[in-house]
């Protein structure tokens, strides 16, 4: 191993100063990446041997199962590829575009986290390691994280195809890798762009919203037929779909052609992805260091109020104020609520269209609204009830526990009435007869979710498999409850 250290260790070999280390030597990008992945792997295995075994068994079973599915569906895909018609290109393009938006969403989320969490940056940035190398490693790690699940799902299909002799499908591997690399570069560039434009205070909110939007892009596109006028849709479709029997050469088709085994587009795509990562690392390396450290150094300013306006109002006011402030400043709350609306609104618009055509749209809208109310309640409850960082403070204070809980209830309900009230107002205006059923179903969904949170409080910092399994059981129970109230509301709407 070739190592150097200025002035302390053995003298540096001639000409080595400033030269990038070899591919796998200490201090190289891949060495740093291996370090990050080792930590991620150990994090998965935390909780002892039992958990590691369970995770291993689940992962292995999933991979085997997916391979069986892949092998079974391979003939159908083989026919698609054999034809190599415009349909094959279009299907592949749509699938790859969907994957890219998912990669992009994850990349923006990860970059935002990196911008606001110090983590090990003190150590890395106080070392002589060049900033661009640290950022390159982070980008690669983001690409791996973003691409892991989609690639895990696609790999069995590709392997199934290859087992059946369709080796051209091996092109899917470099294409997915290129897309995840490209998404990591684009996502980081977008997040840093936001940091420059809106400043650190709003970057987290906007970036999360952007990530949510990209994450839901596939769903929103599938709903486009309900929202976009028919003429415009027709024009877009004609512009997108290649003419039958004509091999399209436009760059928009290159990812799909690469995935179908076309070598030149595959090489170009891989090259573009690598250049994108290196360019972003080179351009933003220093901005990454100063951006992260600058953000962490700047105390988040709150609205200045004179001291005379503080410390008044008694115990309950203090509890209410604290809960309201923390709920308002919860970093992920806005994006999570936005995410719920993204899924509700297109569905509701689609149902309204069905209603215009004589269907039972009010029942469907009430179902969706109750479902969303339950989910929003769960999100709002998480702050005051589940992730209270200083619960011990209230418990060890002379304030009765009942009062502490009442303040949490009141603030959650107030927030819920503001957020959840919006769809109810819309229903009142558009579907007035369905309002009582919607109100009942939404109220019941919210109450049950609140009750569930209160009766089975969960702390964020729980450890071990048991805690996680209980959280997932609670999550499942919550979904069943939301669905139940949604269905009840829909039935009630029909009868009313």
């Amino acid at each position: 191993m070739s190592l150097y250290i200025g002035g302390l260790g053995p003298p540096a070999p001639a000409g080595s100063r400033g030269r990038a280390p070899g591919l796998l030597t200490t201090g190289s990008v891949l060495w740093l990446l291996a370090h990050d992945l080792r930590l991620a792997g150990r994090s998965l295995r935390s909780g002892g041997g039992r958990k590691a075994r369970v995770v291993g068994i689940v992962l292995l079973s999933t991979i085997v199962l997916l391979h069986l599915v892949g092998f079974a569906t391979a003939p159908a895909l083989a026919r698609l590829h054999d034809s190599y018609r415009s349909e094959a290109l279009l299907t592949s393009s749509v699938a790859l575009a969907g994957a890219f938006t998912l990669f992009l969403s994850k990349a923006i989320s990860e970059t935002t986290e990196a911008l606001f969490q110090r983590g090990d940056l003190d150590l890395l940035l106080s070392s002589p390691m060049p900033m661009r190398r640290v950022l390159t490693t982070r980008l690669l790690a983001i690409a791996v994280i973003a691409g892991f699940l989609p690639i895990l799902l696609v790999v069995p299909l590709v392997n199934g195809m290859m087992l059946r002799g369709q080796f051209a499908w091996v092109g899917a591997y470099p294409v997915l890798a290129s897309l995840s690399l490209g998404a990591a570069a684009a996502g980081s560039a977008m997040t840093f762009g936001l940091l420059q434009v809106v400043g650190p205070r709003w970057t987290r909110l906007f970036a999360r919203a952007l990530a949510t939007l990209f994450g839901a892009m596939a769903f929103l596109s599938s709903q486009a037929r309900f929202v976009v006028p028919d003429e415009l849709r027709g024009a877009l479709w004609r512009a997108m779909v290649p003419a039958p029997g004509v091999m399209p050469w436009g760059p928009q088709w290159w990812p799909a052609r690469a995935a179908l085994g076309d070598r030149l587009p595959m090489l170009v795509l891989s090259g573009v992805a690598v250049v994108a990562v290196l360019s972003v690392s080179a351009a933003l390396g220093q901005a990454y260091a100063t951006g992260v450290m600058g953000n962490l150094a700047i105390p988040r300013a709150t609205r200045a109020a004179g001291v005379e306006r503080r410390f008044g109002g008694g115990v309950f006011t203090a509890l209410l104020r604290k809960e309201a402030l923390l709920l308002r400043r919860h970093p992920g709350l806005g994006a999570q609520v936005f995410y719920q609306f993204i899924f509700l609104v297109p569905g509701a618009v689609a149902l309204m269209k069905v209603g215009d055509m004589g269907g039972h749209s009010p029942a469907g809208v009430v179902f969706l609204t109750a479902l969303m109310t339950g989910r929003i309640t769960k999100i709002l409850v998480a702050g005051p009830f589940e992730t209270d960082q200083a619960m011990a403070l209230a418990i060890t204070s002379p304030v009765p526990n009942a009062l502490v809980l009442r303040a949490k209830w009141m603030v959650t309900l107030a927030a819920l009435s503001v957020v959840g009230g919006l769809p109810l107002v819309a229903i009142t205006l558009k579907l007035t007869p369905a309002f009582p059923a919607a109100l009942l179903a939404c109220g019941a969904a919210a109450y049950t979710r609140l009750h569930l949170a209160l009766s089975r409080p969960v702390q964020t910092r729980r450890g071990g498999l048991e805690g996680r399994m209980r959280a997932s059981t609670d999550g499942l129970l919550g979904v069943i409850i939301d669905l139940g109230w949604g269905i009840a509301g829909a039935i009630l709407t029909i009868f009313i």
């Binding site: 260790g9 983590g119 106080s126 002589p128």
Partner: protein, 242 residues
């Protein structure tokens, strides 16, 4: 060893204002000040973790703003909150740090063993850091900071969370380092530590250096002939506030 001239940093409001600092090699320098005085901001700028708005920083003759990588090669930073990897053992952590500073493997191996032994961590070298007490974490981070044998060691509250024995170990280690010509800059709120350990003391208040010198010189500046450093510190900082 460390020369700072006209250092300024502002986060909306000024945090460090025109700071000048000269610290010689083989010296323990304690930077004191009330909360929010600008101590940590100053040290983070020296380590290259924050970009100054104005001023210059020179470490061992290297312009730290123009050649940050060279300056970092001879510097180590130990933050107040030791940031370790929970899922690495002390030995693995040191291995990683050695990689970051490109310490030759043989040298790193020997130093790691010596440091972990001196700090009483050798029996725990294979355990994951997640189960460590605050003191053990602090000592692991210190071992990491010393692994590349830095000429300038910068420490933010290095003794917080340490028990008496560990505190003594760390102080002995720091004295041994300055004895071999290395330099230590630290911040602390425990004034007895600064009084006993530091060769020179600087007192910051509202981003400005209000007094600097040996303990004896500070006593004279404050007109507190027989007072403790606490008396001197409170007198100097309250005088400025008044």
């Amino acid at each position: 060893m460390l020369t700072v001239r006209g250092l300024c940093k502002s986060f909306g409001r000024p945090a460090v204002i025109g700071l000048d600092l000269t610290i010689a090699a083989g010296e323990i320098y304690a930077l004191l000040g009330p909360n929010g005085a600008g101590k940590t901001t100053t040290l983070r700028m020296v380590c290259g973790l924050l970009a100054p708005d104005a001023g210059s920083i020179e470490i061992a003759g290297i312009d730290a703003l123009a050649e940050p990588a060279r300056a970092k090669q001879v510097t180590a930073w130990l933050p107040d909150e030791p940031l370790l990897y929970d899922r690495l053992s002390p030995l693995e952590y040191l291995e990683f740090v050695a990689g970051l500073w490109q310490v030759p493997a043989e040298l790193a191996r020997g130093r790691a063993q010596r440091l972990l032994t001196e700090l009483g961590l050798w029996p725990h070298r294979g355990e994951l850091c997640e189960g460590f007490s605050r003191g053990m974490r602090q000592k692991t981070a210190l071992a990491g900071a010393l692994l590349h044998d830095p000429e300038l060691l910068i420490m933010d509250e290095p003794l917080s969370g340490l028990d008496a024995a560990a505190s003594r170990q760390v102080k002995d280690l720091l004295r041994a380092r300055v004895g071999s010509g290395r330099t230590v800059v630290l911040t602390t709120h425990v004034l007895e530590v600064a009084e006993r350990l530091a060769d020179r003391i600087g007192i910051l208040s509202s981003g400005r250096m209000v007094a600097e010198g040996t303990f004896g010189e500070l006593r004279e500046q404050a007109g507190r002939g027989e007072g403790t450093l606490e008396d001197v510190f409170l007198h100097l900082t309250s005088e400025l506030l008044a």
